[in-house]
């Protein structure tokens, strides 16, 4: 044990926080892990572990601020003293007494560090990043896989908070670390690609990965490479003929276009997901949507699964435009029973008409039985499924997210077992599960947040501002993560777990650094994660040496 200072007695020492005077020739910095033993009158000793969350230095013997100049001029003798504030993480045995002033404080290393941060109690764990000391910070897998808790929520400013990168890093650790992989071998993950075509190269090694970053992967016990088992899904090109072609620009190879048949659209009542912008201005709109969905489902009941088009009222409907036209032409028949006002029906039809462009290529009647099979999003085949929605119209984005999430939840519901786990990475939670209003997607996301734990659907949700996301979605997350936060946002009660110094630091966090809060630890830990070992854009894809195979 290396002694770095002693508990000081000029500030109160309390069972949950105390100050340490740092000894000359030593230093303590933020995030250092320390321990102190304090004696009890009965001769027993209590070990108190903690993390440094504040450090200060000051002159002793100076009376005025200007004394600094006198000290510099060499006429006033002063002493310099450094002190560190420690937030207590653990007390063993659990006797909550303050550490007595004067007790030596040591840096916690090796097994002591594990104890201080509860890592010793984690039977199953996953790497959550590297601490500032360059050592692994573990997350308790039992709080993620549903055994004792589930879900991760990541907040942070777009662009600098690296939310998606961290979510991917977590997935990478969960799938590739020997300790975690044992439990997640059959797990699956779904991630929506919402920005550029960044996530289309996850299965390619990153050419920009340097040795320093490789060393960090090594520290984490992870191979420095791409994701091993990836499926890429993208919307098809509009107005294509015959075979569906993915609409992605930078990569076509290995990307599967996805689409739904009209019959599926009607049978699985997907219409409501076209109205997923949480719009409450027409209170009767859901009624009308319900009526249309019901009508379409009933009408297409029993139609052969091999055909992707539908017969409605004796008319063959082969694309989405047809479907909308049909509803327009048969409005009395469709909405008559629901007793909704003409205005509401008009609004619904107007919106549907407006959706034709957005989703016309996603909901189709021209798929062959074989195509239906191939272009249906199926996440069970591969470990990591990237679903590209970045180029879609906003309404189509919501449609795809909503439909996929509901489909996944239904599948897990039917399956009835938690294992294998399904991780769902969903950015922009404030859009899909806003604090105010209702939408079908919000319902699905809430369902995942509340029941997902027992169903084995784990939500890794992210948003710029947790304060704008439905409270239940955020509070159900066992792991809370923040990257760089806006100063005003950091003051909100949603980030209470950061503590005062954490809030202040959250506004200056660098990309690649996050605050991680997990259930067992009362204080947030600063974690850093390495540069992606997988390519995140075409330029980063490591080109394969054409001769390597010949030589090999």
């Amino acid at each position: 044990m290396s002694e770095v200072g002693r508990v000081l007695g000029t500030d109160d020492a309390r069972p949950l926080d105390f100050w340490v005077a740092v000894a000359e020739g030593h230093y303590l910095q933020l995030d250092d892990v320390v321990l102190v033993e304090t004696p009890l009158p009965d001769g027993n000793r209590v070990t108190i572990y903690g993390v440094v969350d504040q450090v200060r230095a000051r002159y002793e013997g100076a009376r005025f601020d200007s004394d600094v100049f006198r000290a510099a001029a060499g006429v006033l003798p002063v002493g310099i003293v450094c002190a560190a504030h420690v937030a207590v993480t653990r007390v063993e045995p659990e006797i909550f007494v303050p550490p007595l002033p004067g007790q030596p404080v040591c840096r916690a290393e090796g097994i002591q560090r594990e104890e201080a941060l509860y890592f010793d109690r984690m039977d199953h764990r996953f790497p959550a990043g590297l601490g500032r000391d360059g050592q692994v910070v573990w997350g308790n897998l039992e709080f993620l896989d549903g055994t004792r808790g589930g879900h991760i929520n990541i907040a942070g400013v777009s662009g600098v908070a690296t939310k998606t990168s961290y979510a991917l890093f977590l997935l990478y650790g969960l799938f590739h670390h020997p300790q975690a992989a044992e439990r997640t071998r059959h797990a699956r993950a779904v991630i929506f690609n919402v920005k550029g075509e960044d996530l289309l190269f996850l299965d390619k090694p990153n050419a920009r990965l340097d040795d320093e970053q490789r060393r960090r992967y090594e520290c984490l016990g992870l191979p420095a490479g791409p994701f091993r088992d990836v499926a890429l899904w993208a919307p098809p090109v509009r107005h294509g003929f015959g075979e569906l072609v993915p609409s992605t620009v930078s990569r076509q190879q290995g990307v599967t276009p996805y689409a739904w048949s009209l019959r599926e659209f009607c049978q699985r009542r997907l219409l409501s997901f076209l109205f997923a912008d949480g719009d409450g201005e027409h209170s009767q709109l859901p009624l009308a949507i319900g009526a249309a969905e019901r009508y379409l489902q009933q009408e297409t009941e029993g139609q052969p699964a091999s055909q992707s088009w539908v017969m409605l009222g004796g008319r063959r409907v082969t694309d989405f435009q047809d479907l909308v036209d049909f509803l327009q032409d048969h409005r009395d028949e469709v909405f008559g029973a629901a007793r909704v006002s003409t205005g509401t029906v008009d609004a619904l039809l107007r919106r549907l008409q407006g959706s034709v462009d957005a989703v016309g290529h996603l909901v189709r009647g021209d798929l062959s039985p074989d195509q239906q099979e191939r272009h249906r999003i199926e996440v069970r085949a591969r470990q990591l499924n990237v679903i590209d929605i970045h180029a879609l119209h906003d309404r189509a984005k919501r449609f795809v997210v909503g439909v996929v999430l509901r489909q996944l939840l239904q599948e897990k519901d039917e399956q009835g077992t938690r294992e294998p786990l399904l991780f769902v990475v969903l950015d922009e939670l404030n859009k899909y599960a806003p604090r105010e209003g209702w939408s079908p997607i919000k319902e699905v996301v809430l369902d995942i947040a509340e029941r997902g734990r027992s169903l084995g659907v784990i939500l890794i949700g992210a948003q710029q501002t947790a304060s704008e996301v439905e409270r239940r979605v955020v509070t159900n997350a066992s792991f809370r993560v923040t990257g760089r936060l806006d100063t005003a946002e950091a003051e909100r009660s949603e980030y209470g777990f950061l503590g005062p110094s954490g809030r202040a630091r959250a506004s200056i966090l660098k990309p690649g650094s996050m605050f991680l809060h997990q259930p067992e630890l009362p204080v947030p830990l600063l974690v850093q994660f390495p540069f992606p070992a997988w390519a995140t854009r075409p330029e980063e894809v490591a080109t394969e040496d054409p001769w390597s195979r010949v030589r090999g």
């Binding site: 013997g61 009376r63 005025f64 006198r70 000290a71 510099a72 001029a73 060499g74 006429v75 006033l76 003798p77 002063v78 004067g102």
Partner: protein, 336 residues
């Protein structure tokens, strides 16, 4: 030998506790005889502004503090015996240009002074995490005031030990400035280093005569009076002395504010004294704090004020020490 069995606290003297009248107790108040003509004739007295002189590399300020922890009294043969628990300490501050000033050689000692004979040894007074060790000193049948002075004397002796003891830097490149007159210092202390005593108070009038006294108040910062010789009974005790202004007083202050008197042994010779006088006149103003920095500013120089504060702190919390002695005596103390 054990303490007097009747040793008790002496509460009515408590208003004096913690206080010992300042440096004036080092000097008797009778005006000494001086010879003002050693450097210039008395009629030629006027402020002197020295030219730049090659000064020493470092200034070493030596000072001490003392405190009455508790006054006590005993009854011996139907007569009161006065005494006190006193703590005192001394140390130095080394100031070099361009280097942070540093404290050194600090030491704290404690004594139980008794105006009686035959008591000696040590007392260990438990005080929380520490044990306070008081040296028992018997000074014979004396007045209360003399008991207090005994602590003062012991402090000056500790200062002298510091200067003469070789634990502090010495040599030609160090000028030692001792707080208070040089009365207590053994003269050989001046052999290893240049030593001056700095007296902040003006209880004694050294210079009689209008022209001489006016010369003092007319001093500007950086100026000094001519050197005068303080005559004593014994030739070896003679000292050269001069006044220096370390800071200009504000208009509402007495013109003597900011004036200090310095002295050094005469046996070092006038030339050496003149050099020291010039150096002190030039350099000491640099160490003078502005008004408001300290209650005794500007004459209480920065290093001295800081050192005293630190030393006083080292004596221990007064209330706590006092309570420890009280419970020590209550439990029977040395008599137990």
């Amino acid at each position: 030998m054990a303490l007097p069995a009747s040793l008790r606290l002496h509460p009515w003297a408590s208003s004096y506790e913690g206080l010992i009248e300042g440096a004036e107790e080092d000097e008797d108040s009778q005006g000494p005889e001086v010879d003002p003509s050693v450097e210039v004739p008395p009629e030629g007295w006027c402020p002197r502004r020295p030219e730049a002189v090659a000064g020493p590399d470092a200034f070493l300020f030596v000072d001490g503090v003392r405190r009455v922890d508790v006054s006590v009294a005993a009854l011996e043969n139907e007569r009161p015996v006065w005494g006190l628990f006193g703590s005192y300490g001394a140390g130095g501050v080394l100031c070099r240009p361009g280097v942070p000033a540093s404290r050194m050689g600090e030491e704290v000692r404690r004594s139980l002074v008794l105006a009686a004979t035959g008591y000696q040894g040590h007392l260990e007074v438990p005080a929380g995490s520490a044990s306070l060790r008081y040296l028992v000193v018997s000074i014979g049948d004396k007045e209360q005031k003399e008991v207090r002075q005994a602590v003062q004397h012991r402090m000056r002796e500790l200062e002298a030990e510091l200067v003469a003891g070789g634990r502090l830097p010495a040599g030609d490149d160090v000028l030692v400035v001792v707080d208070g007159p040089l009365t207590f210092l053994p003269r050989w202390a001046g052999h290893s280093a240049a030593v001056v005593g700095l007296v902040k108070t003006h209880h004694r009038r050294y210079l009689e005569g209008a022209s001489l006294a006016r010369c003092i108040v007319e001093l500007a910062p950086g100026e000094r009076t001519p050197i005068f010789l303080v005559l004593t009974e014994r030739e070896v005790d003679r000292r050269f002395s001069w006044y220096v202004r370390v800071a200009a007083p504000p208009p509402f202050h007495h013109p003597l504010v900011g004036i200090v008197r310095l002295e050094t042994w005469a046996e070092g010779g006038l030339e050496r004294a003149r050099r020291l006088a010039d150096i002190t006149a030039l350099v000491l103003p640099r160490f003078a704090p502005p008004l408001g920095w300290d209650a005794r500013a500007p004459a209480n120089l920065y290093p001295v004020a800081a050192l005293e504060e630190h030393l006083r702190h080292s004596l221990g919390d007064h209330a706590w020490v006092r309570r420890s002695i009280e419970s020590y005596l209550y439990r029977g103390g040395g008599a137990a």
